[in-house]
């Protein structure tokens, strides 16, 4: 049981780390604000979700697990709304130029 949990953790956290890598490569390589925003809010949020998934088997209690999931949901909410706001600002800034 413990071994299975550990395997899930290692697999999910590795996948999460990969998506963080992808997000960072996107941030470094993409040319303009909107595409970089895309890399940041999608890849990184998926990475966070996978890390949370990986840590769930290690959580001590149901309450800790629920807290972990709610952190990810908060992250999703923030990513979805903040990226829209930033994108709107970026477009306004371009229009003003």
């Amino acid at each position: 049981m413990s071994l299975a949990c550990d395997i899930i953790t290692i697999a999910a956290v590795s996948a999460g780390a990969f998506f963080f890598l992808a997000g960072t490569v996107g941030l470094l390589r993409f040319p303009d604000t909107l595409t970089r925003l895309h890399a940041l809010t999608k890849a990184d949020n998926l990475g966070l979700g996978l890390v949370v998934l990986g840590l769930l088997p290690q959580a001590g209690s149901l309450r800790d697990g629920l807290k972990l999931v709610s952190i990810w949901l908060l992250g999703l909410l923030a990513g979805a709304t903040v990226s829209q706001l930033i994108a709107r600002t970026a477009r306004q800034g371009e229009a003003a130029k």
């Binding site: 709610s70 908060l74 909410l77 709304t81 829209q84 706001l85 709107r88």
Partner: protein
Amino acid sequence: MSIATIFEIVLAAVVLGLGIWTTAVRETYSATVGFVAYGLLVALIWVRLDAVDVALTEAAIGGGLGGVLLLGAAARLRNAELMVTETPGKVTRVSAAALSVLIATALAGAVLLLPDSVSTLAPTVVAHAWATGLTNPVTNVLMAFRAMDTMLEKVVLLLAIVGVWSLAPDSAWGGHPGPRHQADPNGVLAFLARLLPPIGIVVGIYIFWTGANHPGGAFQGGAILASMWLLAIMAGLTDTPPVRSRRLRFILVAGPGLFLIVGLGGLCFGAAFLAYPPALAKPLILGIEIAMILTIATTLGLLLAGAPERSAKR
């Protein structure tokens, strides 16, 4: 070198890099963004140092609220900062660098040469935990063993808000702090400002409540509540209250006032100023903390909003 040490060096390097960015970059807005990132990441160091209470405080007050405070000022002063052309001369720069390096080296030396014998008050704190009925040692220190500090700190918060309000121009005396924010009531920002505060209020109260036995407490919970209030204000859903409001002023003095009354009660009925009778210690501390979280949330929010700018009658 173990893998944990490598991780610690990476963490320290990231935080220091942000510190260097904050100091060196030309534009103030960028420096503020760097400082917010710095403040949020320092919380990781505090977790690593096993001081979770401080990590919560740094994340909430040091990084979050403090950073946003600086950011608001940077946005307003943007044009003024551009006009400043004076830069200190080379001599000043070199001597400042020399002084800073000297002090940093002295501190580093002190860290490296810390004595082997460690003095700690942790066992004493644990030994006296029975007196309050709370098991979080930091809350015990804050609310019982060094309660005087905490009470005076509340007074400092109160004095700061009096100082900020006293800077209001005559036309706005007693009026609303900060600008009135406008936002599309059906837009994304208003949506987030309706969705997030209920969650944030639950989290804030949870952090406050868990502070009795686990890391958390009134400051951290209050800071979260304040940030949620300000979010609603920034989305234009509500306005800052006029500072002449009597109810507002009552909330502002409720925390330190109750603390003082309980302290004087200790002087009259107990052993000393701020001495709680052991049987009543937990309810008394809880009562003070409930009053305090309201005061802290309101004070932090109003400190961020700044001096009154619009007169109340309009």
